[in-house]
């Protein structure tokens, strides 16, 4: 199954990068969301995945080998929340930008270079 998931990650990255390269800021943000989903999934599966064995312990000596690795889950959780904060800010920025300039086209953003 890991291979299938790895391919999924590849597809998500491809979609993310492709969307980032569009000129619309909205698509750009969607691209960011895809990328962050892909990355989260990558972190999640990278140390191996086990189905149906959530890391719950109740005092009986557990065997770590039978449980899913809880650490990547915690990391991804943190990353999701952080990513959420940043996406919200990006959306607000985009909104404000459109309000100020009336354009959604990233190619119009050329005044600050050169």
């Amino acid at each position: 199954m890991e291979i299938v998931l790895a391919i999924l990650i590849g597809v998500l990255y491809t979609a993310g990068v492709y969307m980032l390269l569009r000129r619309s800021i909205l698509k750009f943000i969607i691209g960011i969301i895809f990328l962050s989903n892909a990355t989260n999934l990558l972190v999640f599966i990278s140390s191996g995945i086990i189905a149906g064995q959530p890391a719950f312990v109740d005092g009986t000596t557990p065997s770590p080998n039978n449980l899913s690795d809880p650490l990547p889950q915690a990391l991804v959780l943190t990353a999701i929340v952080i990513g959420f904060g940043i996406v919200v800010f990006t959306l607000a920025l985009k909104f404000k930008f459109f309000e100020t300039t009336g354009t959604d086209d990233l190619d119009q953003l050329q005044q600050t270079d050169n």
């Binding site: 199954m1 990255y13 989903n37 990558l42 990278s46 189905a51 809880p70 190619d107």
Partner: protein
């Protein structure tokens, strides 16, 4: 000596402290400090002459071999006397010359700080320390040249001089470090001990050449000479002090310092004699066609510096002796002539000899001094200059291999110098008075005391050279040659080759002068001829190179920083893909243990759904469809988390996905529709890059699952979660206990993001 340098440093700040009436006393006071230093060095002459070396060491950065190493030996005392002695006169002169200008505090500050740096330079016993002072003199020279900073020409000239000397300095320090790495030290004495090793090492040639670049820029040697005429934009006291007597001699000092270490090889001899000879001739050649008297002096200075480099290049005892003597000869007459030129400028308001004439009547005393100095410059008896020239001829005649070429250029150069000197005297002081403006300047004694003393010294030492020879030149020579050497100077050498060469030179010089003086058209034609032949002016070359480079930079910058946001991203992903694929290729050795399987099918189905909705979201033209499919993909990933035992993760993912969807929908109505902005080829190109990156990530994901160096640390967390942290859900325990600091950061991010959105939306448009 360190006390002395400290006194110099403190005194440099005095111009800012002195206020009101005391302000007028500043130059006198600073001249007095110079005089004190001169007296100090003078008092040491005897000890140094006996072969003593005074040395003081203060550690600075000893780990890097950089120490503050002050050494007073025969060589450094000669330069120190020159610096402090002319310093006294220059400051007295500056008192009169600078009176009418503003910002004098700054001027004296720069100039005196320069004296301190120059003194530090010649007392350096450590080459890095020497470089430090070397750079300081360059920068102070920059500040002094641009003293009249509202004139664009002054700013440009200052920039040019700094750029060349600064460049030379950096190159030189690279050479010093290179050779220092052979010896493991930057101390001159260590280099002297290891001179043999240095000369035999493979770094010798590159190191030497790098140091030569520094020397040539500083001492205005061909082809770096052109900054010096430009430097005449500086106030005249600066020209006479920095750009004739002291700073430009720093390169000569460096050569003298290094000649016992690096000298004596053919690389040393040929490079220096060739450069020196070219510079010598070229300086004299261009001097005669100048019209600005300060420019004439600048070009003759270049010529004299060429002579000095040439002599140190010949590198025989005789030539070094000639060099040391000529150092003084040149300092005496050139500083004097500069001061006289400045005085004339003040008196008449012009420095163009075509507008000058007959000044001998209105400035009789100055005329006398000018005659003395010019004769010394021409190398005529009984002046010190004559002695110098005789010695130089002697050295050239005896120089190995290249003597004939050097002699031809030398005779030609000297003949030109004679012509220039006489021309200067006759055009400016004799002849008919031109209708130049007579500015009423109170004939301040301070204007003429400096040139007066210097000119008289030229005469005095010409008649009685023994003192100069035995007490100053001889110790200097001993510390350069590192062996005993007896210096005897005489005015009359008898009838020998050198005498006839001299006679011939004088003859040639007079003819040249006569032609130039009697027929004005000759010089005009000559100038025109030069302009045609030497159509390439070095200053222009420098400026054009710079300009070309700047516009090249501008174009390149616009190419790189073009403003197209997408291409920035494109570049980054392109670099990333190449990089990752290369690394995948390098680490190809790992084995893939997993078997491709679609079981369980409902998971495969889920993955398929995610993939399809992702692709749909990519290509859809409708905004709402794009967002909804994006949501579907997000929820699908949440289900995946759920299936693979990550309950908390799934819940979080669902909440976040929902919130994002809601926000998208909320602002969607206020945003424009998608427009298809890119062409098909663009989209294909983007897709290609996206695919190459995505596929690389797939490979990486598989690899990291299969490569395991270690048991994960989470085993410990599972074991201790309940017993030590009292929590059943290990993920939660990790978040709030094991890795609570992450959560703190996460909270901070959320708070900042929330406040950021608040500030962003609250602020009115500006």
């Amino acid at each position: 000596m360190q006390t002395l340098l400290l006194v110099y440093l403190v005194s440099a700040f005095l111009p800012f402290i002195f206020a009101g009436k005391l302000k007028k006393a500043i130059p006198f006071f600073l001249a007095f400090v110079h005089f004190g230093a001169f007296a100090y060095f003078f008092s040491k002459i005897e000890r140094i002459g006996n072969g003593d070396i005074l040395r003081e060491t203060i550690p600075w950065v000893p780990q890097l071999g950089i120490n503050f190493d002050l050494v007073l030996n025969g060589l450094s005392i000669a330069f120190a006397l020159l610096i402090t002695g002319t310093g006294v006169l220059v400051f007295l002169y500056a008192h009169a010359y600078m009176k009418s200008y503003k910002n004098l505090g700054v001027f004296y500050f720069y100039l005196f700080l320069f004296s301190a740096a120059m003194l530090g330079l010649v007392l350096s016993g450590n080459l890095i320390q020497l470089f430090v002072f070397w750079e300081l003199t360059s920068y102070l020279s920059f500040l002094l040249i641009s003293f009249f900073h509202e004139k664009e020409s002054a700013r440009n000239a200052a920039f040019q001089s700094l750029y060349l000397t600064g460049f030379g300095g950096l190159v030189m320090v690279a050479g010093i470090i290179l050779l220092g790495s052979v010896v493991g030290s930057y101390s001159v004495s260590d280099w002297v001990v290891n001179a043999e090793i240095l000369r035999a090492h493979q770094f010798y040639l590159p190191g030497l050449m790098l140091i030569f670049v520094g020397v040539f820029t500083k001492s205005a040697q061909f082809p770096f000479h052109f900054w010096l005429p430009g430097a005449m934009q500086a106030p005249t006291p600066v020209s006479s002090y920095l750009h004739s007597a002291t700073m430009v001699k720093a390169g000569i000092f460096m050569l003298a310092l290094l000649s016992p270490i690096l000298g004596g090889t053919s690389a040393w001899t040929y490079t220096l004699t060739l450069t020196g000879a070219i510079t010598m001739f070229m300086g004299a050649y261009f001097a005669i066609t100048q019209t600005d008297i300060k420019a004439i002096l600048a070009y003759t200075t270049i010529s004299s510096l060429g002579v000095l480099v040439l002599l140190l290049g010949i590198d025989t005892a005789l030539s070094v002796k000639a060099a040391m003597l000529f150092l003084f000869v040149h300092a005496f007459y050139k500083a004097a002539l500069f001061m006289i030129a400045g005085f004339i400028d003040k008196k008449t308001g012009t420095r163009d000899w075509r507008n000058l004439g007959g000044l001998a009547r209105s400035m009789p005393i100055t005329f006398v001094f000018a005659v003395l100095a010019s004769l010394s410059m021409a190398g005529l008896p009984p002046m010190l200059g004559f002695l110098g020239k005789e010695l130089i001829y002697e050295a050239k005649v005896q120089s190995p291999v290249i003597a004939p070429y050097v002699l031809v250029l030398g005779v030609a150069g000297n003949a030109l110098m004679i012509a220039v000197a006489l021309f200067f005297l006759f055009k400016v002081f004799l002849g008919k008075a031109k209708n130049q403006v007579q500015i009423k300047v109170k004939t301040d004694w301070a204007y003429i005391i400096g040139p007066g003393i210097l000119a008289l010294l030229s005469l005095f030492f010409g008649l009685f050279p023994a003192f100069l020879g035995e007490t100053i030149v001889e110790p200097a020579l001993i510390s350069i040659l590192k062996r005993d050497y007896n210096v005897e100077l005489k005015l009359w050498h008898g009838f020998n080759t050198v005498f006839f060469l001299s006679l011939f030179t004088v003859f040639l010089g007079f003819i040249l002068f006569y032609v130039a003086y009697t027929r004005d058209s000759v010089l005009v034609k000559w100038r025109a001829f030069n302009q045609r032949i030497f159509s390439v002016r070095f200053v222009d070359v420098f400026n054009n190179l710079l300009k070309g480079f700047l516009s090249f930079s501008k174009r390149k910058t616009e190419l790189v920083q073009h403003g197209y946001h997408r291409f920035y991203i494109l570049t980054i992903f392109l670099v990333a893909s190449i990089f990752l694929w290369y690394q995948v290729y390098v680490t190809i050795g790992w084995n893939l243990d997993n078997v491709f399987t679609l079981r369980p099918f409902y998971v495969s189905g889920l993955v398929l759904v995610i993939i399809i909705s992702t692709i749909f979201s990519m290509v859809s033209k409708s905004r709402i469809a794009t967002i909804i499919t994006m949501g579907v993909a997000g929820y699908g990933i949440a289900l995946l988390f759920m299936y693979y035992s990550a309950i908390d993760l799934a819940i979080t993912q669902i909440i976040v996905e929902t919130l994002i969807l809601v926000m998208f929908v909320l602002i969607l109505q206020r945003l424009p529709l998608f427009a298809r902005l890119s062409s098909k080829t663009t989209r294909l190109r983007d897709l290609f890059i996206a695919l190459s990156f995505g596929s690389a990530m797939t490979v990486l994901a598989l690899k990291s699952i299969n490569v395991n160096f270690n048991h994960p640390i989470s085993d410990f967390m599972i074991e201790n979660s309940y017993t030590k942290a009292y929590g059943q859900n290990v993920v939660n325990v990790i978040l709030v206990d094991f890795r609570a600091l992450d959560t703190l950061g996460e909270v901070t991010v959320l708070v900042v993001a929330a406040l950021g959105v608040f500030v962003l939306l609250k602020t009115k448009k500006t």
